[in-house]
Assembly symmetry: C2
Homo-oligomer: 295 residues x 2
């Protein structure tokens, strides 16, 4: 049975009809989110679903909705991109679409998409890390998403690099990995340190030997790499999937992470391990949300 | 139905008849391992099983065997305490006992025992860390042991504290948490640094302000604590269970770990979190092995 996936980002909403198992996109559509109020987003999503559904037998297809944020059932507890807190989004959306919807964290959706039809096809144990504006992760263990006791597992962007203090993170705490390595905070830190440009510029300068750039780069990327290696030791995945806007544009970071994982993860856990770039690009969340809703 | 648990340590083997669900010991017995050859250990275990079984209806009870080492099915891949490598122990033991046996890692058994009848009763998501001679851990997620892609997950003693180099660990690599914090290696490091005694002595001296002792203590315990806090962020357990010979004798270490977890784990993951000392002491492995075999 075909499935329906929705991906709600900070600037766009996308919808797609997706083939089961393979996750191939049958039809897709995108719409900018001009008005980010919950009611307006519900209306945009309902229109998108109608557009992608035309000519396909999806009237009873389950709907999975990938969301950049913390979720609890139908409620968006916190979606920083949309400035939403404690918004019941699942309820109104289900009523608008006339069927049940399942909200899923965007990283969980992406990890599931990569497992179904991307870089981790066929694996049952993966650790997925996306570095874009922020740093997110998802853990699949024995073919199931690891959600934790209260559904907030895999907040890898908020592991602390230092025992006390550290740079202030968007979450309000200090010393989080995301406060150094997330694209938004890294760019801030670069500006403060007199290194102009994007994370890609930082990589280029650092690899050319520019001292201030190299200092920042080595600290941020070195800590990211060691933290991933240590999660490999603890989680023993078959595949580490790397993705997101920053990592996909910075091949030096991917090389560094791969090198550190392959030398610093425990000997047993790195045997047979693969470190791969995500393959579905922007589609992974759509695909994964659709397939997760299908259950 | 009653279950049978075996715990094989470096110096003793223990056996017990265990009540289902509660994990209460019905009868137990212990025997020193003078001859550590696999055949001799099989004979000791068979004799122990006979002793604890007298008067109890356990002729068809499953047998779980907890082992300090890396296991693959019936094979002990590596048990440093016994100097065994690639020993088929499950096969001969099953023949000697006339029934199937299940080998389980001792930390997995302990974590399961604590979940059934100890500090984490009723939880479904726990992170268990034991610091004794070495540093071991087990992860229970959604009521299941997390084993990883190749069965070597939760090697928390071998997460690396530093990006390169570091103190040599018993595993042959450098910079592992166990190379600083495991009782054996910590005692070695203390001796090299002119601090005499046991980890308990180190704690006493460090808390009295002795500078060399404080340097070692703060490095080792600080890194242990931050590493546990970061695993809480990633795994979102309901309970962190701390145990093992070193932690159970060093209340200052337990306090430090608790403080760091409660301030440095992500805000969402520490909500409602409990950090507790293991309650079953030496019995947790026996109880857990028996209950795990029962399935």
């Amino acid at each position: 049975m075909l499935a329906l996936g929705i991906d709600i980002g900070g600037t766009n909403a996308r919808a797609a009809v997706v083939e089961p198992v393979t996750g191939r996109l049958v039809s897709s559509a995108k719409e900018a989110l001009v008005d980010r109020s919950p009611a307006a987003v519900v209306a945009v999503v309902a229109a998108l679903v109608e557009r992608v559904s035309r000519g396909h037998d999806v009237a009873r297809a389950p709907v999975g909705v990938g969301f950049a944020g913390m979720l609890r059932g139908d409620v968006v507890v916190n979606a920083p991109n949309l400035h939403w807190r404690d918004v019941d989004f699942g309820g109104p959306l289900a009523r608008a679409l006339g069927r049940p919807v399942r909200l899923v964290n965007d990283l969980s959706a992406a990890a599931w998409g990569e497992l179904s039809g991307g870089a981790a096809r066929g694996a049952r144990d993966t650790f997925t890390v996306f570095v874009g504006t922020g740093v997110g992760s998802a853990i699949i263990s024995g073919g199931r998403l690891l959600s934790g006791a209260t559904g907030v597992a895999a907040e890898f962007g908020h592991v602390k690099l230092v025992a006390e203090g550290g740079r202030r993170c968007g979450c309000g705490e200090h010393g989080c990995l995301e406060a150094y390595m997330g694209g938004a905070k890294l760019t801030e830190w670069m500006a403060e340190s007199g290194v102009a440009g994007t994370p890609s510029d930082l990589e280029r300068l650092a690899l050319q030997g520019d001292a201030p750039a190299k200092g920042l780069y080595d600290f941020a990327v070195g800590h990211l790499a060691l933290a991933i290696a240590n999660q490999v030791t603890v989680l023993n995945p078959a595949v580490v999937v790397l993705g997101g806007g920053v990592l996909s544009r910075c091949p030096g970071m991917v090389r560094r992470v791969t090198d550190v994982v392959m030398t610093r993860a425990s000997a047993a856990s790195r045997q047979g391990l693969e470190v791969k770039l995500a393959e579905l690009g922007d589609d992974s969340g759509l695909v994964g949300a659709a397939l997760l809703a299908q259950g």
